[in-house]
Amino acid sequence: MKAVDGATFTVRRGSITSLIGPNGAGKTTAFNLVTGFTRADSGTVVFEGRNVTRRGPDQLARAGMVRTFQLTRVLGKMRVIENAMLAASEHPGERFVNALVPRRWKHREAEVRERAMEMLDQVGLAAKAEDYAATLSGGQRKLLELARALMAEPTLVMLDEPMAGVNPTLGRQLLDYLARLREERGLTVLFIEHDMEVVMGVSDEVVVMGEGRVITQAPPDEVRRDQRVIDAYLGAAGEAEA
């Protein structure tokens, strides 16, 4: 049984690319394969010109490829702020040998805390900073995941349905924020989304998957008119009704 087979796509540096497709098309599996959470039987992943196919998820994250999960994975028994602070990169205090010597990391820790607060503010969770993450609602968890991912200062952020359960106004603000990060820092965004309005509105390119394959990759206007795409969606809908 192959969930994803023959799915080749490219995400241009500095672009906002969306990954769409009917339920069960293999979008999340594709994410898992690219980010190293699932081992691919074959195929290659190239990131910033390097073949990173067999690398583990934490290695890829440190290299700048950071993802979120469709089913959120917040660290429930840790504070919201700790969830965000955890993601900071290059923190000397996270090294075992430094754990006993606070002066080696106190400064960085204060920096990280400040940045985490800013990030929580950005996603509207600042007031919840000291709450346990497990007390957050589904939408808030999505926001926390996003904040955590951005806190890691990725060059490519991969978001699995980041808007699901998030109120549309805030969702819109977050998309603007991502767009701003792209302008300022050259952030590349790849996201899975079902809301076609959002997809067509912000994407430079759209990758369409169906039944484990990439059907097409094109700018939104072309995708909208592509008969194969329409068939894939209608086909899936037709089967669902049958």
Binding site: F37, D58, V66, F69, M78, F96
Partner: protein, 312 residues
Amino acid sequence: MDPLLAFGFWAYVLTVAGVYAIFVLGLQVQVGDTGLLNFGHVAFMAIGAYSLGLMVTNGIPTIVAIPIAVVLAAIAGVLLGLPTLRLRGDYFAIVTIAAGEILRILVQNRQDETGGTLGLRRASGAWRDWNDSMLDWLDGLGLRDLDRRVPLLVITWVTAVLVALLLMHIGRSPWRRTLRAVRENEDAAAAVGKPVFRLKLQALALGAAIAGLAGVYFTFLQTSLYPENFEPIVTFIGFAILILGGIGSYFGTVLGSIVIAFIISGVRFLDFPIAEDKVAALRFVVIGLIIMGMMAFRPQGLFGKKEELHLD
């Protein structure tokens, strides 16, 4: 004299409690902080104890043997972790309990080196001399006719408190935050670049080193080592202490050790109208009841955080 009133007896019980406190502090790092269900923790104590015993009986000075024994326990943690830490929770638990039993049976069967079931005698090396010098020194300070067991009692507890303070100090570091993240969700930790496998390995090795240290004090206390000192029940008593004191609380661990040690060592001296071997079994019944009672009425333990319990 009635053993219940004898100071020496209670000094012994409290020393056992101190050894358990150190032992379980190591377990706390693995289970409480990192979420590693290590059911073979006793193996690391055995490695600390037998390493010390084998070195001193082969002419290595005790003062040199102690740090080596602790380091060997840590190395054993790494060696056990390398092939097993990629396993998920319950599978890891099964492998660790098996590893502990394999070690114990190995010690039992290598009779020429370890003494096997006949025991490894004089395993505590120079401890007796140290003990005498300390008693002399205390005598000079005016503390005359102290029980022979007092020096070890004091040193064990000083060590336990130092280890607890050390862990509390480390506990405020970002390193421990990453351990807790691994405990909460490995995938989430990996997704933001935390080296999950290495962190688990570090936690396992640190906990193992602490258990090795407990093994050193255990050896000082017992002088002779027997394989049956290191049966899986020791690990489970450790878990009982962990549950009683509260998972995540170093202070609770220390207090839980005292309570459980009193039950284990104390029950056999109480006068029950049943056969002696049944009294021995009774203490495990009591421990079982305590665990059940805690789970039912105070699942966070004496010092665990209640608010964390209902989160998920």
